[in-house]
Subunit: 757 residues, 2 copies
């Protein structure tokens, strides 16, 4: 890691470390109602609090030709501060900037808000029933930003988006199937829980706007601010430090717009740093209900699947319209299914907005299909491994979106983890029985998943080789603990024959680092890695040309190694880069690289190209369940992921560990609990996340590569979706009971065990 020493010594600067002269501190007044008309918002008493410099509400933002008061990465449906109406508990109504947080809080306490409650709806299925309160009837919806988002909004309903996939003839296929199974699965809303909560410092003035933000999308934030304040377009700068975790929660504008508007009002820099309680309700993982109907021939071959997904996207669209497309496609799993029908809905409810979250809809989809696969195997009396192997997508077969899939390794991944976990040994497949004193039962389970990466997609990079022989890699990839700076340094170093100690990699700054679309979707290693390769190759060509002229040897007879150009076969004849540049009096050599991928789906059928390649993973779990308490202990977990080419094997293992930590929580205890829209467990005392003792007693990680192809695949998320179904399948095999609603808490297990047989 190029930042390992800074990291372990606590010297990495984060956004919370940004301090500007005269900087104010901001707090937000948030709605206490889930759905209400705002009758009155009175800030007059609050303005009198000493130390308060600015207070803004919707009244300051609406009706201004210079200001568009909405935001959102797809629809612009989310008011920066609530306009006339609040739609979830926690929605910002007013913002205060003061000399310190105490003054800001004192002002909040004096703001008077009068609500007129409205009927609210919290469940995504109920929200689509006739007579349900409609959250956004007649609301403005501009956008979309992304050409690849398929929008079928239901006007006058709570349907935010409806993604349709239509492949083959499912009705005919079900009619001709030997077996048809229909089951329903749910996942609860959850929290990404980055160590660092959202933080933004904005310095907005007549000369322009500078934003320091812990965001995964500096350019999207810049574009959003430019849309909100069109007069500032071209004078907006977004600077991003290393993030203390992101996991999707920090993609697209969140708190930046309100911070900027506060800074403009205060004419001073303003910092807004969310409390943990605020973080809980700022962006969530989508809760979902998935109804899945699968038809098979008697030999276990899947002939058709029909899925209906109700993704609860909360009060505002956020990236939901896009995520539910991914989740909907994902319900097909890594199988070859000739007939598929998917309806995937993003549904508005009076909960906090749901958005991007590590796995991006695939966790939810995989929970459904990989649980159902085991259930089907049991029902058919088949080995669940055999059932999967019979259906796994083969190289060249059509994927869910109808285009051929290549470079597939599902079989190897799955059989590998199954073998390592001991599948096929008597113990593993045995029916539940007390396996140890105190009525404890053991079982193993596995799963295999497919995931796309954002397509179309664009990354650009710059590179600069300097007179001192050092290489600067200019990239807007966001370092958020995933090690992207190290990864890009390794890629660059390998192309140029230069050690990591001579390579710097930037953090993003829209002023100085070139465009990147997003750090997310496990895309950086593939997309930005390729852009960096191209930028560095442009420099390598210049270096070789310089050396060729100096040494009077053809460039083809030269090679790059150890920070020098040397003659092939005569390594003693070499010129260090620094010497080469100094000799030619060159201060720096510059290179630029770009990488773009293309793809599009037919909006009526969801067929086309949704991902340039497929991320692939499998997982296998061994659990021991205490049949008296319902407590689950994860004895062992085997993770396997396809990386194409592993740039940094250690980092690959760490990503696998992180994915398991996330997956354990999702499988066993993570859940945001709402009571009529009020979050009941919005603190780290009440909301459970995995801690070291929750990790598997034994963790095996396999990073599969394909040296022949050599293409890099991102693996930041791929290992996560298998975890919950593998654990769920292991629990079912240990206990004989199936829990279809995550998380699989001890209570649910006990209730199922005690249910009349």
């Amino acid at each position: 890691m190029i930042d390992a020493r800074e990291r372990v010594t606590g010297r990495i600067p984060y956004t919370i470390d940004v301090t500007l002269p005269g900087m104010l501190h901001a707090r937000l007044l948030r709605s206490t109602e889930a759905h209400a008309r705002l009758v009155r918002v009175d800030v007059s008493r609050a303005r009198a609090v000493p130390g308060v410099v600015a207070i803004i509400t919707a009244a300051d933002l609406v009706g201004r030709p210079d200001l568009f008061p909405y935001m959102g990465p797809v629809y612009r449906d989310q008011p920066i501060l609530a306009i006339d109406r609040v739609r979830y508990v926690g929605e910002p109504i007013a913002a205060v900037a003061a000399v310190d947080l105490d003054a800001a809080q004192a002002a909040l306490d004096l703001i008077e808000v009068e609500y007129e409650p409205l009927a609210a709806v919290f469940d995504a299925v109920e929200a689509l029933e006739p007579g349900a309160p409609v959250l956004h009837a007649g609301s403005p919806r501009t956008g979309p930003t992304y050409a690849d988002i398929i929008l079928h909004p239901g006007e006058g309903t709570n349907v935010c988006n409806h993604f349709m996939l239509r492949k083959g003839d499912v009705d005919a296929a079900f009619a001709g199937a030997d077996h048809v199974f229909e089951d329903e699965f749910t996942c609860p809303p959850a929290q990404a829980m980055p160590m660092e909560t959202h933080c933004c410092v904005a310095d907005a003035g007549a000369g322009g706007i500078t934003i320091w933000s812990a965001t995964q999308t500096p350019f999207a934030v810049r574009a959003a601010i430019g849309e909100i304040l069109p007069g500032y377009q071209g004078r907006i700068r977004v600077v991003v430090s290393t993030l203390g975790g992101g996991y999707g929660a920090k993609a697209y504008p969140k708190i930046e717009p309100v911070t900027v508007l506060l800074s403009l009002a205060a004419r001073r820099p303003v910092r807004l740093h969310l409390t943990r309680a605020e973080e809980f309700i700022t962006i969530t993982k989508h809760g979902v209900r998935i109804r899945m109907k699968t038809g098979l021939r008697s030999d276990g071959t899947i002939v058709a699947r029909k899925s209906t997904c109700w993704f609860n996207t909360g009060a505002y669209a956020e990236i939901g319209p896009r995520l539910i497309k991914n989740g909907g496609i994902g319900t097909g799993g890594p199988h070859h299914i000739p007939n598929v029908w998917v309806d995937s809905y993003a549904v508005y409810t009076n909960l906090p907005p749901a958005g991007a979250y590590r796995g991006y809809g695939i966790n939810q989809a995989a929970w459904a299909y990989e649980t159902q696969m085991d259930m089907i195997a049991d029902r058919l009396g088949m080995d669940p491994l055999d059932l999967r192997l019979r259906n796994l997508l083969e190289d060249g077969q059509d994927s869910m979106v109808g285009t051929p899939a290549h470079d597939l390794h599902f079989r190897e991944l799955l059989t590998g983890v199954a073998e390592r976990i001991g599948w096929g040994t008597p113990a593993s497949t045995a029916q539940p029985k007390p396996s140890s004193p105190g009525r404890k039962a053991r079982g193993v389970g596995f799963s295999v998943i497919i995931k796309g990466t954002i397509t179309p997609s664009t990354s650009t990079a710059g590179a600069r080789l300097d007179e001192d022989g050092s290489l600067q890699v200019l990239t807007s990839s966001v370092e958020m603990g995933q090690g992207v700076r190290t990864l890009l340094a390794r890629i660059a170093g390998a192309r140029l024959g230069l050690g990591l100690d001579r390579i710097s990699v930037t953090t993003p700054d829209t002023l100085t680092t070139p465009y990147d679309q997003v750090t997310g979707s496990s895309r950086s290693s593939h997309m930005m890695g390729t852009a960096v390769e191209r930028a560095v190759d442009a420099i390598a060509a210049q270096v070789l040309a310089l050396a060729a002229a100096r040494l009077e040897i053809a460039p083809g007879d030269l090679e790059l190694a150890d920070g020098a150009v040397r003659v092939k076969g005569s390594p003693q004849r070499s010129v260090p880069f620094a010497t080469l540049l100094a000799g030619a009096r060159i201060g720096s050599l510059q290179g630029a690289g770009e990488y773009r991928t293309e793809g599009t789906l037919d909006p009526q059928t969801g067929q086309g190209i949704s991902s340039i390649h497929w991320h692939q993973a499998a997982g296998a779990a061994e659990v021991e369940v205490d049949l008296d308490t319902g407590r689950v202990e994860l004895l062992r977990y085997e993770a396997a992921v396809y990386a194409g080419r592993a740039i940094n094997p250690v980092q690959c293992e760490l990503q696998a560990e992180g994915n398991v930590a996330f997956g354990v929580g999702q499988a066993l205890f993570e859940e945001l609990v709402f009571d009529r829209g009020q979050l009941q467990n919005g603190s780290l005392a009440d909301y459970m996340v995995a801690y070291p003792a929750d990790m598997p007693g034994r963790l095996g990680v396999t990073t599969l590569e394909n040296p022949a192809l050599g293409e890099v695949h991102g693996i930041g998320e791929t290992g996560l979706p298998p975890v919950a179904p593998a654990i769920g399948n292991a629990i079912a095999r240990a206990t004989g009971v199936r829990i279809l609603d995550l998380p699989i808490t001890p209570e649910k297990i006990l209730r199922a065990l005690r249910a009349p047989g």
Copy 2:
């Protein structure tokens, strides 16, 4: 100005605004002796002061294989902290980093230093006399960095460098001349007096070194730190904010090395911000003695000149060896002189180091030759304007360095100011006489100068056109109030047809902005301007190609204007850049530009190419001298400078004003007064700088352009050298007395007026 609003609202971030978590504050213990052996430096009591985190002395720096404890842009002769010996009053001996300045100062007070005084020398001529104490006998001298610096050091003497110019046969020419005049002129040491004193924050750790410094040379600082700490090469980053003035005083490493070493020792970030008193002794303008012998034919044609310059470069070489070359060449003035002999010495003395200062040796040279020109005219009974016009260098004639000079405008510049000041009217040429009640005398004078710009020279730039239609100009030019960011924005905007409100220009950051040699030598507008043009042109070509494909029109039929590509002759057919990029799904287009100039001088004759083109200026002053008090009032000043192409006419005028303010001070009152090496007036209470009332009652500024050629000339310094001789010539014409030693104080005038005739 693209930063005008930030500037007037006080929102520009300076280096002093950099605050890092855990940052310590540094103070330096400085020598009280001008020349002494360091017998003992004991920091043991100081270490016990609460709040002190690190103290370093030479003992911590010498004898380490990982550390080279010297610095200097030409020779590495300056110890970062005094090693065994101090050579000037104020030389740093120890450095303390503490939690606050009070603790640091308390520690300084407890450091015990025992000196053994050595004989000292302060005058540059005396320093070359036999028996003078030699400052650097046997000292290490590595370097030089610059191939174009001609080094003739006098080993075992105080000659730091000796520049020789040998052109024609001066002895024969003097022998054949009708008149030969020899005079001696002096200029005192002075202070550049930037509003912002030197400031540096360093964060050095195992992972690398980041330096925030108010420097004009980020890359030279990076290189210097890499030389001092070779193990860190490739992991050193220098970030430069807007400077509160530079004027040469902030070029090359100054306080950065000691700050970095303190940070390494403390393992925490450290800030060192010099007090005004420290600023006075950190770097100075060279004091000089110039003996000038000029031979003429009876018609006033100059046939030969021999100059000897003793530049007092203080205790360490700094950039002196280079500056005295410029000053030496400069003694030839803007005249065609076939036979020239110059000996220009940089001489070590026990004064603070002298270095770069606005005008870079030309102020001193011009003071000599433009004063002597008037003296010669008087002696020959010629009109001083006629004498100059007879000798001015004409296009195609050889310059001082023997190569033809082109694009010359001396005649126009000089006759312009002479005419505007009223030269030739009876009053102006009259002998001194009381012109008003109270015995006040008026007179006018003028001068004309030539100045080179650093050659060879390299600048690189980057540019990026983004999806939002904004252009980012990536440059390491340092904004120090001269308006370089605005200038580069205007250059870029003109090439791309884009308004300034869509253009950002970086401040330097060696991580993200490409190499530049130095912001100095009035080179940025020409050098970096050209590099930026090239970078932007590379983008323009891509934009035109995109538009050509989209509009199906040949690129040659398209033009760039108002942030759009439009069809020539059909301006209504246009595509905004943002639309063009969005249509092609391009995040950003990148361009790179480089500009290098070449030149070299023969080390034995000083003949060759010393400047790619010549900076040219003239000035004329009208003064009123109170013959009772000696007080001089500058009634009027006419400045004229050749700009080639004026990018920002308002900025050109402001540069002229700044030059006049500097020139008035040099002419009339600025002088560092030393008593045996102790500075006597090292405060703004005692050292005089020009304030508004010292400015001319009427200031005329002419910025001459040459539309036919269109080449941009820097004008940041050019207007300064004419000021002092023009004022001196006006005073002489008003009073009849000649002062050859700057500044022309009332005391000197009165003494001369009262001297026996």
